[in-house]
């Protein structure tokens, strides 16, 4: 049973990951990413990390990928990428070399059976009495209290960043010198009339 879940999860993870890096359409890539997330979910369940598995699905499949899809649709880039164009010359051999190195490394590692050499249960035992959630919670509010509190800073940054980046800037009259305003207006007019003469009059009376 263990093996079956592992193999299904691994197949989903690898299919999804290869899909993300090989498919041309960003929407398909995002859907493949969901596939990988579900594979990770299975592997978490298989290892007894029930709570993290749930969080994994809620945060990644429920929020992150949706955000990706939203941005893809918003920008209207749901079309094929012109692959091959604008590629740095040495990048593909470099990437292939890197991939080969990683493969050899993994094969070498798979022959080693000494992944874990650390002292066990240094911040508290995972097995034993009590639920997974209770143990995580207690550790989070004791040993990891400070990092937990400081994630608040991360969320403040995310809010401020979203406001800064998505707000449209409206220069008020006070921000620009009269000369700059005049110059700006003229440059717009010349640019507009160059592109389409019928538009030239539209910026004559700016709203200030």
């Amino acid at each position: 049973m263990d093996w079956a879940v592992y193999l299904v999860g691994a197949a989903m993870i690898l299919t999804g990951a290869l899909g993300v890096i090989l498919l041309r359409n960003p929407v398909h890539c995002a859907l493949m990413l969901v596939f990988t997330m579900f594979g990770i979910f299975l592997e978490f369940i298989n290892q007894g990390a029930d709570f993290l598995a749930a969080v994994q699905i809620i945060v990644y499949a429920g929020a992150v990928v949706i955000l990706f899809l939203f941005v893809i649709m918003f920008l209207g880039v749901d079309r094929k990428e012109a692959i091959g164009a604008e590629r740095l010359r040495f990048q593909r051999p470099l990437a292939i070399l890197l991939g080969l190195v990683a493969l050899v490394e993994i094969l070498a590692l798979s022959r080693v059976d000494h992944w874990v050499s650390g002292a066990p249960a240094q911040s508290g035992a995972l097995k034993g009495a009590g639920s997974n959630v209770a143990k995580l919670g207690q550790s989070l509010y004791t040993g990891y209290l400070l990092p937990f509190e400081m994630t608040a800073a991360l969320l403040v940054i995310a809010v401020v960043a979203a406001v800064v980046m998505s707000r449209r800037h409206q220069p008020s009259a006070g921000e620009m010198s009269p000369a700059a305003q005049k110059e700006l207006r003229e440059s717009h007019q010349s640019a507009l009339s160059a592109s389409d003469p019928s538009l030239a009059g539209r910026l004559e009376a700016p709203s200030e």
């Binding site: 994994q56 945060v59 955000l67 893809i72 993994i106 992944w115 249960a121 097995k127 800064v164």
Partner: protein, 101 residues
């Protein structure tokens, strides 16, 4: 029969490698960003596996912080991408308006 833990770790390593390779090969920023998410997921799987092998709750708690950071990173990254590439959309909208006269 239980799956040896090394299998999970190798799976995570392969996933991490795929993500890193994808980041270097692809040129679409959104897809590059997805590749970073793949790498972070590989790290999560590694943490959970080590936590089980060490019988240590710390590894699972670490995954929390990776999740929070990943979520914040997505918000900030996508807002930078939107701010950068929205100009094109604005220009397109103007063109449509201009054609109507």
């Amino acid at each position: 029969m239980n799956v040896p833990s090394a299998w999970y770790l190798i799976l995570a390593a392969v996933l991490f490698g795929i993500g890193a390779t994808g980041l270097l090969v692809r040129r679409n920023v959104l897809v590059m960003f997805m590749c970073i998410e793949l790498m972070l997921n590989a790290v999560n799987l590694t943490f959970v596996t080590f936590a089980r092998m060490l019988n240590d709750v710390g590894g699972q708690v670490d995954v929390f912080f990776v999740l929070v950071v990943a979520a914040a990173e997505v918000v900030v990254g996508l807002s930078i991408i939107v701010a950068m590439f929205r100009r094109r959309a604005a220009a397109t909208a103007d063109d449509i308006h201009g054609l109507k006269g």
